[in-house]
Chain length 241, copies 2
């Protein structure tokens, strides 16, 4: 009740409970002590305790049953692509060596589809960035990225190569913080240039993705076409009711 580290009590409590989950002091299916007991233990009011617990419930680690108690979920905590976490955490952790190569950076006039996604007019300037990602030298993903020029006025194309290792941070430094997004997935066949760049036969399966990313207030920041080799890539999504 007298901690003044600047971190809120409910955050401290949340992380302490998370620790107990990771170290399995709290095991799958266990019932936690009652909220009243926990609040007393942590020296906070019940409302504050609940604020911490709520976060863990949102993450799917705990669940409540009215009149019964609060429990540890039996869920395996699986990789979760429905949470945003930047590009570079996405590749499989098992992979050996991941490289990302800038194929081109340019200023282009937005075509209708891109303009609509970015909320700009057709023909307005946009920054186009094309990258190739490889695992152990095998090409696996092509990104074709569009940014509204108006949100990145001071950017020079030469800056982009250095920024590529963490594009989201690059957006942030220009005042554009990614908050949420929407993506659409399709199965397609490799063709033409895309097939060549991914070293695929024409007709091989491609996991095709379109994605728009937004700032907190809903301003579109990035639109992306993404072509993934079907035989080397899958997307995992957590579903939450």
């Amino acid at each position: 009740m007298d901690r003044i580290d600047g971190i809120p009590h409910y955050v401290r409590i949340r992380e302490e409970i998370r620790e107990n989950l990771l170290s399995e002091k709290l095991k799958k299916g266990d019932r936690l002590p009652s909220e009243e007991e926990l609040a007393a233990f942590y020296g906070v009011s019940r409302m504050t305790l609940r604020q911490g617990i709520n976060d863990l419930i949102d993450e799917g680690l705990l669940y409540r049953r009215h009149g019964v108690g609060t429990f540890v979920s039996k869920n395996h905590l699986m990789r979760d692509h429905s949470r945003l976490n930047g590009f570079n955490q996405q590749p499989e952790p098992s992979s050996d060596e991941i490289t990302e190569e800038l194929l081109s950076a340019s200023i282009v006039q937005a075509k209708a589809h891109v303009a609509k996604a970015l909320g700009i007019e057709e023909g307005d300037e946009s920054i186009r960035i094309i990258t190739l990602r490889c695992i152990d030298g095998e090409p696996i993903t092509i990104h074709d990225i569009y940014l509204p020029r108006v949100l990145f006025k001071n950017v020079k194309l030469g800056d982009i190569d250095a920024a590529m290792s963490n594009l989201w941070e690059f957006y942030s430094t220009h005042g554009n913080v990614i908050k949420n997004g929407i993506q659409r997935l399709e199965a397609r066949q490799a063709e033409g240039e895309i097939a060549e760049q991914l070293k695929l036969e024409s007709g091989a399966p491609i996991l095709y993705k379109e994605r728009t990313l937004y700032a907190e207030d809903g301003t579109p920041i990035e639109f992306l076409y993404c072509y993934n080799r079907g035989d080397m890539y899958s997307v995992t999504i957590r579903l939450q009711r």
Copy 2:
């Protein structure tokens, strides 16, 4: 402060604000009155007001900026497959006629992959349901569903045809309420029986999906293989930071 309809104040407030968003009394980008004002207006304490607002923020309809105010997101509210809502709401609303046909229902011994997903032993009994979904008579999706027999002891195979229109409700009536899940998507090529049933050439692109659904406590309830015609199906996912 004296409503006794049995509905919590924060729910009533949340829905009233949602109404104002839908009817555009609150427009994209608008700032809401301060929490203190709103709490006074609705006749509740500030904590209660915030509980209602928090739900709308979780849905992405509003956002807060510390020291500034609470605002209406500019986000388009798009279709969202990362929220669970049962099978039958998933097909495109624009589609004309959707039919779902039961191809088979049987008791089978779980193979290794299915058993692992369902948390049962290899060889244990599971209920297998295969369905074909068509739009305007065109086959579009095959579902190959597995349920742990032990969770559906009283079920007769003959019951399944009637239950198919709403499988999730069927699960609920047997005490298995779907709470969350995980799915994995891949691009593949149509082959053999799957190609035939979807009336595709061998090699045509397929959006392949595996999904496991869980109850609140993490018990697996359903495991599913799903084969979608690549040229007629896409999956849309909302990303939330």
